[in-house]
């Protein structure tokens, strides 16, 4: 499987940079003579999506401008909307959201709101269609190419353009990547707002089995990174949990969310973010590197199937990583190390995982891996899927445990469990929302400073329409947050975590509703079919049943 790495935001870009380094020597003159291609390890390709133009163009020098034909490249999707154009103006006038805002408010809802504005507002859709003509959109990566698909989709220029630049790297376009890995930080600003809209495009093309993963670095608790992130801890946690919520509740969305705890990285590397990024790259090598065992190249569809097949919502994958020098019979030692505290990159209970991907690098016996992991964790052997690559100096193993939590009501009290960590994040987010509700509407004391000049950033002034929508989003129709709304959902999620239920994020939420949409409080997912997403989810289930009936899934699972 060859992944397309899409780094989003600052952290995503820095991590993507590690993946997209050039294996070849960088001599420009020589490259001209040899007609050298840019080659990344594992033949990975990728792109960096960023909203902050200054960050993209001036601060870093690794990514070049896609519009100038550079590779590796960055792309600023917001540039598709011209400054001061009618779309820009209307959105700001009507909703108060500035689609061109540099360096977003550290707020996942901001981009979510912008997406949903384009998704729901007919007037704005009409203006987009009228003012941003097809050719311009296409040349900037617009929606025109997708118009023939069966699912009608409102033009969403920012996300459409982002998708179109990514598409060209994938087998859905002219490229060779048969999977996408989004790399984001949970708690950042640019963050996850892009992921779900892009996944929409992929799924809307009928590619239910095209693997899309998100690798997210969960911001650490505490104020350590406040300065670096230009945002307080509580706010970062709200942004993080908002982003995770959106990812984990979107049916027919990502095939999995791989989550890494930045707190663990900080413990290991301190403020050496470069080392931490390198570690993340190293950790992912068993998944993305080349040199598969002959005949053991995992088809991307199979990976997608095994990741989220049979599940109604994207799962959480917790990575466990170990690297040991080459030795005879390394399986036992590798598994044990990966399962130890040293190997875990997020709190989890391995024995609660319902599935495990085991990506190995080195000379490793897959049967032994299966046996040892099953023995150590209690996961059924048929739910363990090893995949092997030939290694380098060390033997390495990356275990992705699917949904390694639940079934233990006391788990949330134990440090080092997923429940504990999420409860902490949720609690902080709830605390923030209760203590500084005005910040949710960007009306609070401006604590955020601009990244370049350290002056207070320009304040967002939402319109009443937006505020109402946000209020309903956060606190429900009654505004209390007791019965519905994001606050309610977070509390419920925390309760589920404490009760050991899974999944814990259930209901997708929107800020701005579609005209045909039923209000969210009516839309419960228990047994009633509502909305396109439920339909898509049921259709997925039906497909899975059919594949099981045909015996295809079983064969693939036994590997």
């Amino acid at each position: 499987m060859r992944l397309c790495i899409v780094g989003i935001g600052g952290a995503g870009g820095k991590i993507a940079q590690e993946f997209l380094g050039n294996e070849d020597l960088d001599f420009q003159l020589l490259s001209r003579i040899t007609d050298a291609q840019y080659i990344s390890p594992g033949m990975i390709q990728g792109i960096w999506l960023e909203a902050d133009k200054n960050d993209a163009k001036n601060i870093q020098h690794f990514f070049g401008d896609l519009n100038e034909g550079c590779y590796p490249c960055f792309y600023i999707p917001h540039d598709v909307v011209a400054d001061g154009c009618e779309v820009h103006r209307i959105v700001r006038e009507k909703y108060g959201y500035d689609v061109k805002k540099q360096g977003f408010v550290r707020d996942a809802q901001y981009l979510k709101a912008i997406f949903e504005i384009f998704d729901t507002d007919k007037e704005i859709q009409a203006i987009v269609a009228k003012t941003m003509n097809k050719e311009m959109i296409e040349s900037l990566g617009g929606n025109g190419a997708n118009s023939s698909k069966s699912f009608s989709q409102a033009p969403n220029p920012i996300f459409d353009s982002a998708w179109n630049v990514i598409r060209d790297f994938t087998t859905l376009g002219k490229g060779e990547c048969d999977g996408i890995l989004f790399v984001v930080s949970f708690g950042g600003g640019t963050g996850t707002g892009f992921i779900n809209p892009i996944i929409n495009h992929i799924r809307n093309e009928g590619k239910a089995d095209y693997p899309v993963f998100a690798l997210g670095i969960l911001t650490e608790p505490g104020d350590y990174a406040d300065k670096a992130q230009f945002s307080k801890s509580a706010r970062r946690n709200l942004a993080a949990i908002s982003a995770i919520y959106d990812l984990l509740t979107k049916g027919s969305g990502a095939n999995g969310v791989i989550i890494v705890d930045n707190e663990i990285l900080l413990e290991r590397y301190g403020n050496d973010y470069v080392a931490a990024n390198k570690f993340i790259h190293k950790m992912m090598q068993p998944l993305v590197a080349a040199r598969d065992y002959p005949g053991e190249i995992p088809p991307s569809q199979a990976v997608a199937q095994h990741s989220s097949g049979g599940l109604s919502r994207p799962p959480i994958f917790v990575p466990l990583f170990a690297s040991l020098p080459r030795s005879a019979d390394p399986e036992e030692a590798l598994i044990k190390k990966a399962l130890s505290e040293e190997g875990k990159l997020f709190g989890c209970s391995p024995e609660q995982a319902d599935f495990a991907f085991v990506f190995c690098r080195g000379f490793i016996d897959s049967e032994k891996i299966r046996a040892v992991l099953s023995r150590e964790t209690g996961i059924a052997p048929e739910s363990i899927w090893p995949s092997r690559k030939m290694g380098e100096g060390n033997n390495e193993i990356l275990i992705l445990l699917r949904n390694p939590y639940g079934c233990d009501p006391k788990a949330y009290l134990k440090v080092g469990t997923l429940e504990n960590r999420f409860c902490m994040v949720i609690s902080q987010a709830l605390q923030y929302m209760s203590q500084q509700p005005e910040d949710l509407f960007y009306e609070g004391k401006q604590e955020e400073k601009g990244k370049t000049d350290s002056k207070p950033a320009e304040q967002v002034r939402l319109t009443e329409l937006s505020k109402q929508a946000l209020k309903m989003f956060f606190f429900g129709p009654d505004g209390s947050g007791q019965k519905s709304g994001f606050v309610f959902e977070l509390r419920e999620a925390r309760k589920r975590l404490r009760d050991g239920e899974k999944p814990f994020f259930i209901n997708p939420l929107r800020i701005f509703q579609k005209v045909t949409d039923v209000p969210e409080e009516v839309k419960k997912s228990k047994g009633r079919i509502n909305g396109d997403e439920d339909i898509a989810r049921i259709v997925d289930q039906r497909i899975n049943e059919k594949l099981i009936e045909l015996g295809l899934i079983e064969e693939l699972m036994m590997g």
């Binding site: 020589l30 003579i33 040899t34 291609q37 033949m43 060779e176 190249i297 991307s300």
Partner: protein, 518 residues
Amino acid sequence: MPKWLIIAILALLLVAGLSQAGEVLGGGDSSGGGDSGPSVSTGGGGGGSRQIDIDRLITTVKDGKKSKPAKFEELRTLLWKDPITSEEYEWPTVLMYYKGNNTTVSRNQPLEIITIATNNNPLEMRRMLDLYLEVKNPGSDKYERINSWPEKIQTNEYSEKTNTTLRIWGMLPSFAYLKNVGVVKVRANVSDGVNKWSTASYSGLKPPYYTELVFNVTNSLPAMSDFNVTPSGLVRYNDPIEYKANIADADGDLLNVTLHILDENGVELKNETLNTKPGAVSFKANEYGFFKEADAGKNFTYYYSYDDGIDFISKDPVDALNGPNIRKGPKLSVDKLGFSSTSENYYWWERYGFNVRAKNLNPEEYDVTFTLSTRTGNNEWNTVETKTVRIGPDPVEVNFNDTKPFQVTDAGQTFYYRVKYSEYDQSGKNAMEQTGTRINAKIVPYSIYSPVMFLNLVTMLFLILLGSFFVERKLKKGVESHESASGKAGNKKSKKQESRDKSGGSFAGKVLKMLRRG
């Protein structure tokens, strides 16, 4: 016929004869020995025949030979028959025999002279013949005996059928010994010990039998051709002037060839004679000292005379031929041959100068050509330069400047140099030679920091690098060495290669397919 057999037969006859006469040879031995002899049965009296056992007779004779040798000798004496000379003895016929028709022969023509003898007498009457061959040469009035010792014809060598025998006179194979030509007569004299006669005494003979052989002996005249004097044109008096010609003689005689050299007025100045067999004739002027320095400026003519011992040609060709024409020239005095080099390193690639001093010992001035040559080791002389200089009584320095006489193969060897001139010097030579010095063994003419070496190395390195880059550009090994299973291009390529690999064929075909791959 062996003697003992003759004796046995005679004994038998004798016994047969005696038995008819009535006498009996009986046993008892009165002469000694006491041995009983063979018994012979007697017949009746009164004229009856007595049979004699011949086997016993022979046995008796044999025994007698052993046991009574004296008696045996007596018996032999009795039995021996003395040669009988009868009045009916017939003289053997001895004739000359010649197979050929043509009796006109040249002196060197090979001959086969035969004498045939026929003897019809009985064997016991025959006598041994002594033959002598006699020849009468041209201009002579008497026959001369050829063989000192007689050729003997034995009594028993005649053919039984024809009673004939012959003698081939090998001592007269031809008439090459003759000093004159003319009629030659050949006959044979015979003696049987009693009679003497000659083959010439017979008459009425028809060929191929002759009383005497008469030959008309002739002589072939030698002839000269291909007259030539080399070198042609004007030559120096001491140049290797050579008179050449060709002389032929059908008889193959030893010839005397004389060269006559005449001056411009036709007066003979000198001549030289050569004894030679037919073939090429050569007179080298320097060997005979035909010309001297004083002959410079003179023109000469020549002709030949020759004989084969019988005939003499006094002048051939009739009109004397021209040559040689001796030219005038300087008498050089040459010295101070030397050389110089660009540097004391004596590298092969350096330029060298050579010089020699020359003057004419005569007062005139002449153009003399000087040729400079060099060599190294045992190689051939290599001509470097030639120049023509006017040489007069004053010494002239002949310089060969700025020459590049050596090649890289001469490095490390000692060189020799020579100046050859078109005239002769005071020592009679036309060249002067000296040993040079050892050429430096250094082969590469450039130093490492010279622009040439810089060009070499930079060019080479640049081309290697560029070549490598373009090879990679063409083959794309840095990109395509890994064909991903999921890569479309990789699959297509591998399928192509697989289909090629599957098709079999010979080893050569497989190799060709391999080379065409990719």
